[in-house]
């Protein structure tokens, strides 16, 4: 997009700005669309689970206009700031949470090449920014001037900060398999049939997914881990004093973060934008067949990704309406006594698995050391479109490196 703007002769600061603006607006559309749909799904699924129908009338059938109607209702509500609250921080807190949830989407690729920012370190950015959401909640709890809010915020801080540890360990396991922190690279690795998805790669990745799912739910403080807003104990936790638009912003942030985490799970474990069956490549919808085919293929990939993300959201909703809430000590104990050790075990296991299945230095790199091939295409994380060649290239590089080291050691012995 940058080069597209540049070809009209814009100065490059304007081109960067325009490209950034377009991308930001696209991300904003996604971030606003996702909570609407997720909220409607939550109502319908909760209704079915409780043997009700959920909303039926709004918008004619299925209550499909329920979320916009809710939004309008919340906008019309009176803007209440409690007398004991800190007005500045009280106003600021929801927007901080929403900013964090929004920024996470910046690195989330919805299709091959369709990420606002494709970084080498996209996954790390995701973790770093997703951790900032808690700050808004803490500020909200503190600034509300209410003991319920303060208790909720303290629980949130303890719970979310704790669960960042096992989540970080969980996402490392697919990274060890792929050898890249670039989410697009991780997605490209899983092209083809669903058997190529990372969750079917080895038993450790399969097991770590379940830990990831539980920890993501806890990190999002969704039920059964929704202690920060436990309505049977804390009225509504950190959101007790919030109403109207600010409350809506908090919950948009929550639903957007739900989608972001399940989308991350889809990329890390379930092939990202690659469907279970390689329909796009059968139809020739790959970027090698021209830009239109590539665009259509990416569109298909985006549909795939959205379906997977919303499937994850559905599972979270399902868990919320079927499982009873845990106690706070149980939640923390689950994190530190079970999830962290298990995730560490899986991490060690997958490292051993990778080390056993791929030969480190045993491959004879004599010919590889001499070929004057250009490394940019073989550099891990930089092999665009080469798909599964990346880790092989990495290990070849490592093998060449080992041979190189041996050569140098021999030279050291000879030269003096």
């Amino acid at each position: 997009m940058l080069s597209w703007f540049l070809q009209f002769g814009f100065p490059d600061w304007l081109a960067y700005g325009a490209a950034g603006l377009v991308k930001a607006i696209l991300v904003l559309v996604l971030v606003l669309f996702v909570p609407m749909l997720a909220l409607w799904m939550e109502r319908k699924i909760a209704g079915r689970i409780q043997d009700r129908l959920g909303p039926t009338r709004t918008g004619g059938r299925f209550g499909w206009l329920q979320s916009p109607a809710d939004g309008i209702k919340l906008l019309m509500k009176e803007d209440i700031i409690p007398a004991a609250a800190d007005p500045l921080l009280f106003r600021l807190a929801p927007y901080l949470s929403f900013c964090a949830a929004f920024c996470v989407f910046v690195v989330l690729p919805v299709a091959d090449g369709w990420a606002p920012a494709g970084w080498d370190s996209a996954l790390f950015f995701f973790l770093a920014v997703a951790g900032l959401e808690v700050f808004g909640v803490i500020l909200a709890g503190y600034a509300s001037g209410s003991k319920w809010s303060l208790f909720g915020a303290m629980r949130e801080a303890a719970q979310v900060v704790s669960y960042e540890v096992p989540l970080g360990l969980c996402v490392l396991v697919p990274v060890v398999v792929v050898g890249s922190l670039d989410l697009q690279e991780i997605g490209r690795m899983q092209e083809g049939w669903f058997t190529g998805w990372l969750i079917f790669h080895d038993p450790f990745v399969f097991l770590i997914f379940w830990i990831y799912a539980a920890c993501a739910m806890a990190g999002l403080n969704r039920a059964p881990f929704d202690l920060p807003e436990a309505e049977s104990e804390l009225v509504a936790g950190f959101a007790t004093e919030y109403s109207g638009f600010r409350w809506a912003v908090f919950f948009m942030a929550e639903y957007a973060a739900m989608f972001a985490w399940s989308g991350l799970g889809a990329i890390l474990f379930f092939g990202g934008w690659n469907g279970p069956v390689p329909v796009a490549s059968w139809l020739g919808l790959v970027s090698a067949n021209g830009p239109v085919a590539g665009f259509l293929g990416n569109l298909l990939g985006m549909v795939n990704f959205l379906i997977k993300g919303f499937l994850g959201v559905t599972v979270m909703i399902w868990a919320r309406w079927t499982l009873p809430r845990l106690r706070i000590d149980q939640v923390i104990a689950m994190c530190w006594k079970y999830c962290v050790p298990l995730a560490t075990l899986m991490l060690v296991g997958v490292v051993l698995w990778q080390g056993m299945t791929l030969e480190w230095c045993s491959a004879p790199p004599a010919d590889a050391a001499q070929e004057p091939s250009s490394i940019p295409s073989q550099w891990p994380g930089r092999s665009a479109g080469s798909g599964k060649a990346a880790p092989a290239a990495m290990w070849r590089f490592a093998g060449r490196l080992c041979a190189d080291l041996q050569v140098m050691e021999n030279k050291e012995e000879i030269v003096p």
Binding site: M1, L2, L92, G118, G131, L132, Q184, R382, M408
Partner: protein, 269 residues
């Protein structure tokens, strides 16, 4: 940075954010506001890192300082601060001492910053014809995503941890003839932004003794220091948890007072 004013604009934006946050930490009266100002300041510094092309350092800044330290700080404030607490009155003597320490630190920082050779821009310099200047290969080749990708640092950092210094490799690759050190330095400072895309090339460089030295020092790697620091941090964490643990009496002892019945080790530690 040929021709583009965007990095300059962004630099001044983030630098003013960082400075404003720092001044806010000094001047604000409420401790929670100070935490918020600290958040702004640290996030501004992270933005500066991103502009300088040190994306990994910027992310660590976000992860550790903005996401970790400030959250813990706010958590601590929440537990301790009282709403009725009056604003802090800082005595003039403390102001003077603080200003003196700050001036010394500023002098040290200025001295070390000015000692650094001129910064290399990592922004892809794209011209209107799409022709890359300065050897930015990825700007014109590759998929649409790669056209706008900034050179990442996380891969080269990982290799450097294992002792492969890709930046030194390109330094040697770009100098076909034997160079003296000043010439090599000049060459290094003119290295293209995507200098990480080269690799240590054995056939070309082992013949030259000075380059051999550079390769040798690069090979040592940072894995051992990294591991030592990690173990150190784990020790600190365990120690802190040991000191801060709740001193719950053992079930076997009949309701002892805190600190008795074999629990004195908690206080001795």
């Amino acid at each position: 940075m040929s021709g583009s004013i965007l990095p300059t604009i962004l630099f001044f934006l983030f630098a003013s954010l960082a400075c404003a946050g720092a001044v806010g930490v000094l001047l604000l009266q409420r401790i929670v506001y100070m935490a918020g100002a600290l958040l702004v300041s640290l996030a501004g510094v992270a933005g500066l890192f991103f502009i300088a092309g040190a994306d990994f350092v910027g992310l660590v800044q976000l992860m550790v300082y903005v996401g970790g330290t400030v959250v813990l700080l706010a958590f601590g404030v929440m537990l301790t601060a009282r709403r009725s607490q009056p604003g802090w009155q800082v005595p003039a003597g403390q102001w003077a001492a603080g200003l003196a320490v700050g001036a010394v630190l500023l002098a040290v920082l200025l001295w070390s910053v000015l000692a650094v050779p001129p910064w290399r821009s990592v922004w892809p310099t794209v011209s209107a014809e799409g022709a890359p200047s300065g050897g930015v290969a990825t700007v014109t080749t590759g998929s649409a995503y790669q056209q706008e990708a900034q050179p990442g640092t996380i891969g080269p950092l990982g290799w450097a941890l294992l002792g492969v210094r890709t930046d030194r490799a390109i330094q040697q690759d770009s100098s076909q003839a034997p160079l003296d050190s000043s010439q090599a330095q000049a060459n290094f400072s003119q290295a293209p932004p995507n200098r990480f895309q080269a690799r240590p090339d054995s056939a070309q460089t082992v013949l030259d003794p000075s380059q051999e030295d550079a390769r040798q020092t690069g090979r040592s790697g940072y894995l051992l220091p990294f591991e030592i620091i990690s173990v150190h941090l784990v020790l600190v964490l365990i120690g802190a948890a040991f000191l801060a643990r709740a001193r719950i009496p053992f079930p076997s002892s009949p309701l002892p007072a805190v600190g008795e019945a074999g629990l004195t080790n908690g206080q001795a530690g």
